[in-house]
Point group: C2
Chain length 476, copies 2
């Protein structure tokens, strides 16, 4: 039944993808049995992973990159990972340009006073004290703002009212996020005083979404903030009735070299201990919520999965390295710091995966393996299929912090999660522990535990190039 459901999807993948059609590599029976036992244990109620998120988000709470709270999160994680009996628990420190919000206020001044709810974008510059006050000019898209003349924008506050599309895979984000990154620069270039964007988000509560804008060091091109969807609708309706003047007051704090760091914990391997199977997440969060779905959940998932493997009677052959990256939200700085630190042994990284898309159910498994390693990809997909995970192609993105590894040729996977609701919560005060569905969370732990274990124990070469004659990998 399951096989017949999967067959058409498989055909589709091979038709679209460029990878060679290869049948699944055989997995030694004992490894497969252990992987299945790991999945069963995770589904039956992995409590280590879920408790990790609960404790992190409760005891530390929000953990803005470079802040005292992020440092507290590192201390907390070190303690917690040692208590869980992980080995080689350590930090790899680095410094970052620091930005935080101090004041963020906006109101309609005319035609009549009315308050707005905004949140400053990460990297926003401050306005003069008391704010800037000017007429709004509205654009329906980032493209429309980019096509505007200086005359249209100069002396005004830009209101960029571009909506974001809700999709299961979160792909609306890539398009929508451009306005967050570039609105301030486009506004400033045209002599505008500040930019207010309709939030990069999909919900209709009075809860704007923060997030990083493009920037030089700590700050970007000008003052910029996000409005909730109802506030954006309200401004649009008001502007239909006549000119609207708004006051925007943003005050910020910045520092050049704030402390941050990556936390590392390992399950040391045996005969292939120098080969690294990396599973990661990021420990920092935005300051508005407690960072439960972004990315406490991811950390709980990878820690929970690694802990299940660590509890096996014997360790797998390769070393499993859990990396809790710092300062992801402010420019993937932990990922870059990791790649810098490990520049000389990136070739020893045989696999990398990152969980950074909440705790929604994984519905498709994508890889980016060598052309000769497609049989391994198929084998992993077969193992994960009973979790309700469809087979995907070989063009996985991997994840934000492991992007530098992917670019350096490290084989990566994307266990793709249902992100239908992710951008309802992402970067808002609503990113809290109660938003995690424990059953869906456990399905993630199951998938991470199984795939990580198999890759670590089989010793498969996932970089493997295709043989000139296209010899079947299944014959290995």
């Amino acid at each position: 039944m399951l096989k017949s459901l999967l067959a058409p999807a498989l055909t589709g993948v091979f038709a679209v993808g460029s990878a060679l059609a290869q049948s699944a590599a055989p997995i030694p029976e004992d490894i497969r049995d252990t992987a299945e036992a790991l999945m069963e244990r995770a589904l039956a109620g992995d409590e280590v992973g879920l408790k990790f998120v609960e404790d992190l988000t409760t005891e530390v709470g929000p953990r803005l990159a470079g802040s005292e709270a992020e440092a507290r999160a590192r201390d907390w994680a070190m303690r917690e990972l040692k208590e869980l009996n992980f080995q080689v628990v350590r930090t790899e420190d680095f410094t970052i340009p620091y930005w935080s919000r101090v004041v963020e206020r906006a109101e309609v001044v005319s035609p009549a006073s009315q308050s707005l709810i905004i949140t400053a974008l990460g990297g926003s510059t401050a306005t003069p004290e008391g704010g800037v006050e000017a007429e709004l000019v509205r654009f329906e898209s980032m493209a429309a703002l980019e096509a505007a003349s200086a005359e249209e924008v100069s002396g005004k506050i830009v209101f960029l009212d571009e909506p974001m599309t809700r999709t299961m895979d979160g792909s609306g984000y890539g398009f929508a996020v451009r306005k967050r990154r570039n609105c301030a620069a486009a506004t400033t270039e045209r002599g505008g005083l500040a930019c207010l964007i309709r939030s990069v988000g999909t919900q209709s509560h009075r809860m704007p979404h923060t997030g990083m804008m493009a920037r030089g060091q700590a700050v970007g091109a000008g003052p910029a903030a996000a409005l909730s969807a109802p506030d954006a609708d309200q401004l649009a309706r008001l502007m239909e009735r006549g000119p609207v003047t708004v006051n925007v007051n943003i005050q910020v704090e910045t520092a050049e070299d704030a402390p941050s760091g990556n936390i590392i914990a390992e399950v040391p391997g045996t005969d292939l201990a120098d080969e690294i199977v990396l599973i990661g997440c990021h420990l920092d969060s935005w300051d508005l919520g407690t960072g439960a779905i972004d990315d406490g959940a991811g950390c709980g998932i990878v820690v929970g999965a690694a802990k299940l493997i660590a509890e096996l009677p014997s360790a797998p052959r390769r070393t499993i390295r859990v990396v809790l990256y710092g300062s992801e939200e402010v420019g993937l700085l932990g990922g870059r710091a990791y790649a810098d630190t490990h520049i000389d042994d990136l070739d020893k990284h045989v696999f990398a995966a990152e969980s950074d898309f909440g705790a929604g159910k994984i519905w498709r498994f994508e890889t980016r393996f060598g052309e000769g390693a497609q049989g391994y990809a198929e084998a992993l997909k077969e193992v994960l299929a009973p979790l309700g995970i469809l087979p995907g192609g070989n063009e996985a993105f991997g994840g934000p912090d492991i992007g530098v590894l992917r670019m350096a040729g490290v084989p990566v996977v994307t266990p793709r999660q249902n992100g239908e609701d992710y951008f309802d919560l992402h970067h808002t005060p609503d990113d809290t522990f109660d938003k995690i569905d424990p059953d869906e969370f456990r399905q993630n732990v199951a998938a991470y535990a199984a795939m990580t274990y198999i890759v670590a124990e089989t010793g498969w070469d996932l970089r493997k190039a295709a043989e000139p004659e296209g010899e079947g990998v299944g014959s290995e």
Copy 2:
């Protein structure tokens, strides 16, 4: 089909209610035809009522009782109602004790710093500047706090973590609201420094619900604020791990005699013009949202219904009086002022209804008519049934502002709306125009138009007492 669906419900009502079983009074055919035409017009797209809410919430926005914004709302409504060609458009002014929030901030101080999202309750006293800082003491119910000794509470900040139950008819509110009204007094009596309640609300966003506490003049017994559900959960989890110290900083502004007022507009009657058919709503709102569901929608519904009737070729016999009450949120002050002003002609009020429960679909029609007037109640229920409205009993509450009329013996009805989601939005920043479903709104306008017209045109005596011999009203 419809009749057979309704029959069991009718039986149920008569079994439970104390009213005499009477068959529906006949409605003259031309009146019934007109009522049906009014319903059809409303359902086909009443745009006056919906536009009234949209314009009020957009152009005025939030309208806190006694504020400059509420005064602006009165001016706006006067202008709007005159433009709609209502007659006798006037204000009936009164003054109220005024309260508004200036600062509302809370944070966990220990075991480690973490911000909380709170909103002050209406009538909260101010804390000393910089706030009060003390250990939390948690109670799971108002009853538990009331049973606590001074020793348990003295010098502490009370955290009243009582949840509210979601129900279709909103009946969870009556129970839950006691903690909002009484927490500060119970805390202060026991030497506590402030009270934080889990919001009187049913949603799980970081959006606390404001609302009035019990009070003397402008202020109540002490500082009090509401927490969102996720914030309350967070505090409960933190307290499971050890003592928690919190800082609560509330600053307020008060005044003794702030201006408020009721707005009145009429469709004058003909031969029974001195008899008043009153349909009301309240014009003021809390300050956090734009008061779209509470109670812009109610005002749109009664204005929309009255306008449909005003557009008929000839006016109904009795006078239809639309009352937009002021200062409802802060103690039903507009309702009391109206009763005071009209104390000498309350007997001329032959019917009253108030729409103050959002824009959700009406699902049951309840009356409070004289025992001899049950046939009229049945007749109205029959007319409204095609709108999907079930027949209810004869113990209607009426509405908050017409409570004084009900107590004075004025016949009232409750067109009971689906309030499943009402307390997700009630008294939060999320009470905005986008939350109104136009189709459900129009069903409300249809029901108000039909019932108001029938009561005005038939001249029915809804106070009518039962005849000693129980003579059928249907014979009249």
